[in-house]
């Protein structure tokens, strides 16, 4: 080497060499098999002091909101909404914010484990023997003896197991979640089928309406897609280009949504269908003309007498409803009664008065997600009951459970825990040590949602078809493994049909196979000609969506020719109507996240506990005060909860939030509060949804006190604890 050959020349030459190699092999420098190793081991794409942001999908409920997670040095620091995702447009709910307390929860399942069922003691196994266990379970049983029970998220895993089932003959996976039970998704879908001739989740364009009548629908809390419906509510209220919209809430206990309503109508539980039909009739009468069959049979005076809403009020509301762009929404506890389907049909049919079907401010059928051909709803409680019966009868020898906690979420009267004794082998993929994982023989933990690949179909809430994409924002914190990777490896070990059923090397390859059909479609948020580029965009943007809306206008030719039923439901024996509601801050799986526990309930400001809401007058008659521990007894079970004198509830009704009452699920959830599902019976409505609000209960004093932490002054709502001299 000559003296003129400087260091710079050498580097130039080396660069040319590297470039040549790259051209010759067709790969970039990334394909080098060795790379420089820094002294500090840093996760990829991380630099000291710099944040890296990853788009992914929230898994706290099944809505599928897009997230952008700020990470720094391989740690997830903060979640924000993904501003480009059409579903949530950069916004999150409280649960989305607190998902980090799930990721870094001190009580995660850290390694694959084996245990005696119900025993908190366990021992660790390694992933090789875990995979072998799954392989043996697949191999040693007949396909019809193998069942999968899955949660409502994530969709990619559900698709994987569905494909596996189709190829091998094992039972198709069944999905369930307490939220879908409380939302009565089967009832909504069945009502749409009966009225419009097509099953699907109705979508309500609240933002475009002038007057909204909500029959118990808790759309600002946990219902279907709360972030998107909150945006709809803002559209209703904003008054820049139009008159400020008006919300009327019909429900016996004022929910958080009811608290935001301009008018709260405390009707008698179960009379929602009757009131909807009466309003329909009065509204049409106010316009004149012949009455259609749907509203012809109802007697408004009778409806007023039965519901406790005065005829004048019904008439006033009917005129309001008839005179503007109005919208009626069914939902909440009103669907969880024996007449739930009739309520859903009557309220949906009420939309025929303004004839808003398929119009802005009206009722649509939700757009199908990009890789979906028909609406797939989670199992109704009746289908779950049948599933549990099969378990108890020994029809399933192997049960795989992922993403759902049925021992906690199903009512005690459908005894999932007891039915497990009919199953020879129970394998859970739980991330957290929940009640169901405790009753499993093995727990082979999946990654947390923020450590996972995947996608979630947006079932409702966005006019555009959206497939929200998920990618790991941090590398797995513990010795966990993606369930698809476990199943793929086990299928290879099991051999036979399993070995050829899913020809993928890993989870990512499977995901890519599901994205390939989207590359053919036009009008998407991005396009690419090869799958690696497409998948890279999919990760970068947090999903793929159509740019144009695809809400479907329902076929309403026949809506008003139905016989609609205004009959009142049957209630199980008892003194008070029980209104169970999903805790707006905890929902079905939030109880193990400490900051969610410390968020005040939006209506009562209670934290960390279960309470029972009783009208102050009723409490006075019963002789109970705030924080008195009472026993609530139904035909089917009993729970204990502290009294909260709630000023906005009917005197004949009490309400208990769902979300607490865990016996496992980590230190923040365990042995805290009570689970109202213990009070539910197992009666279903006509669509197969549980009549969770169809029981009546008795209240017994226990003589004990239980302090309930709350943010508001403990002087009471009316300052009663200050004593008489302050009155």
């Amino acid at each position: 080497m000559s003296e003129q050959f400087s260091r710079r020349d050498f580097l130039k030459l080396a660069g040319v060499g590297a470039a040549t190699t790259a051209i010759l092999t067709g790969c970039g420098p990334a394909s080098r098999y060795v790379k420089r190793e820094p002294y500090m081991q840093m996760p990829e794409y991380n630099y000291n002091g710099q944040s890296t942001y990853y788009a992914t999908t929230c898994r706290e409920c099944a809505a599928g909101c897009g997230l952008v997670v700020r990470t720094i040095q391989g740690r997830a620091i903060k979640t924000e909404g993904n501003a480009s995702n059409p579903l949530n447009l950069g916004k999150t709910c409280a649960r989305g914010q607190a998902t980090l307390h799930g990721l870094y929860n001190p009580d995660r399942v850290t390694d694959p484990i084996k245990r005696a069922r119900g025993n908190t003691a366990y021992f660790n196994v390694d992933w090789d023997s875990a995979t072998q266990t799954v392989a043996d379970a697949l191999k040693n049983y007949k396909p019809e003896e193998i069942a999968f029970l899955m949660g409502t998220a994530p969709d990619h895993l559900f698709d994987f197991v569905s494909d596996l089932a189709a190829a091998t003959g094992i039972n198709a996976p069944v999905r369930f979640g307490a939220l879908s039970m409380f939302e009565a998704r089967a009832t909504l879908s069945k009502a749409a089928e009966n009225l419009f001739g097509k099953a699907g989740l109705p979508f309500f364009d609240i933002g475009g309406a002038q007057v909204v009548f909500s029959f118990g629908s808790n759309f600002l809390e946990t219902w279907l897609s709360p972030v998107s419906y909150t945006r709809g509510f803002v559209g209703l209220r904003e008054a820049k280009t139009k008159k400020r919209g008006y919300l009327v809430q019909f429900e016996s206990r004022m929910s958080q949504t009811g608290g935001k309503a301009d008018e709260w109508i405390p009707l008698k539980p179960g009379t929602e269908a009757l009131v909807a039909l009466a309003i329909g009739r009065l509204a049409l009468e106010s316009r004149g003309g012949a009455l259609p069959r749907a509203f012809a049979d109802v007697d408004p005076a009778d409806a007023a007498a039965k519901s406790g809403v005065s005829l004048e009020t019904l008439e006033r509301l009917a005129v309001m409803f008839a005179s503007t762009a109005s919208l009626a929404i069914p939902g909440g506890p009103s669907l969880g009664r024996s007449n739930g389907l009739a309520v859903a049909e009557a309220v949906l049919a009420l939309n025929a008065v303004p004839d808003n079907f398929g119009k802005p401010g009206g009722v649509y059928l939700s757009a199908l997600a990009p890789n979906e051909t028909e609406y797939h709803r989670p199992a109704s409680t009746q289908e779950m009951q049948e599933f549990v019966q099969k378990m108890a009868d020994g029809k399933f020898k192997v049960l795989f459970i992922h993403g759902v906690n049925p021992v906690f979420e199903l009512p005690r009267s459908i005894d999932f825990k007891a039915a497990l004794s009919g199953v020879e082998q129970v394998i859970s993929f739980a991330t957290f040590p929940d009640e169901t994982a405790l009753e499993a023989d093995y727990v082979f933990p999946d990654h947390h949602g923020l450590e996972s690949w995947g996608y979630q179909r947006v079932a409702t809430g966005s006019a555009q078809p959206v497939l929200s994409g998920a990618q790991p924002v941090v590398s797995p914190f513990y010795n966990t493994r993606a369930t698809i990777d476990v199943l793929l490896a086990a299928a290879q070990l099991a051999g036979g049909e399993f070995a050829t059923a899913m020809p993928f090397k890993d989870e990512v390859e499977f995901l890519h196979s599901k994205l390939v059909p989207l590359m053919e479609e036009t009008g998407g948020s991005f396009a690419a000609v090869d799958i690696n580029t497409f998948a890279a965009y999919f990760q970068q943007h947090g999903g793929w969506w159509k740019l144009a809306g695809a809400l479907e206008a329902p076929d309403t030719a026949d809506v008003l020719n139905h016989d609609l039923n205004g009959e009142e439901p049957e209630f199980a024996e008892g003194e008070f109507f029980l209104v169970p509601f999903v805790s707006p801050t905890l929902a079905e799986a939030g109880a193990n996240k400490p900051w969610l526990q410390e968020l005040p309930d939006p209506t009562t400001t209670v934290m960390w506990s279960t309470w029972v809401e009783i009208n102050p007058e009723t409490a006075h008659e019963l002789g109970v005060e705030n924080e008195d521990l009472v026993k609530i007894v139904s035909e089917f079970g009993e729970i204990e909860a502290a009294v909260y004198k709630y000023p906005a509830i009917r005197p004949d009704t009490i309400a208990v939030p769902f979300g607490q009452g865990h016996t496992a699920y980590g230190r923040y959830a365990e042995n805290r509060g009570a689970n109202p599902a213990d009070l539910f019976g197992s009666q279903m409505n006509e669509a197969g949804d549980l009549t969770f609000a169809g029981v009546k209960v008795k209240i017994e004093k226990t003589g004990k006190k239980l302090p309930i932490p709350r943010l508001e002054s403990i002087m009471g709502v009316y300052g009663e604890a200050l004593g008489k001299e302050h009155e």
Binding site: A94, Q97, L103, P226, G259, T603
Partner: protein, 246 residues
Amino acid sequence: MATVSDLKITELKLSEAEGGKWGMVIDQDICTGCQACVAACAMENNIPFVGDEDSGYGRSMHWIRIERFWEGEYPEVKMTPNQPMLCQQCGSATCEPVCPAFATVHSQAEQLNLQVYNRCVGTRYCANNCPYQVRSFNWRDYQRPEPLPNQFNPDVTVRRRGVMEKCTFCIQRIHKAQDKAKSEGREVVDGEFTAACAQACPANAITFGRIDDPESLVSQLSKQAHGVKHLEELGTFPHITYFKGG
């Protein structure tokens, strides 16, 4: 007896206090009380959770809380519009003059009420003197078992027992945006960044920005006639404007 020049100084100070730099507008008509802002604030600012017992004693550390009250009795009962309550970043703050340790000081540069954690000796005079009741005190060293601390925001100090804390208007975000703008040789653009609560709010009920910039969204909104400022009559010059609901 006040001289003419003294009066001028007072007037000057008042106009400065009234003006301010950063401000917020909260629309109570669309706030749904969902607590997303509370959770977002806790996650952004490393706020500890205190557990059931201490929250029962009213020691929970919410820098922002949603107030709601009741009007009337059943069946004519009404929930008042949800009212997010946080530090109003007063131009003339009552918490400031009472601190013996100069831990509650006014930032000249940002026109914010600062809380200097390493000066705070925990007298709690400031919390006593805050008419908005928005200061929270670390009564204990609250436990965050491993691996929860992995989530800590490295831009925000972690406080320990005996220290008062409160909303900072996400000053770490302000500084980050200013640094970025400075390195790019420009001014911070309105809407370029926002506070954690405003960013999360699903209803977009919170607007944050420069109130000394007449073009910014927040100053346009704060000039609307139906805006009110809480306890303005105390002369605190709060920098948050509320739109009452209904």
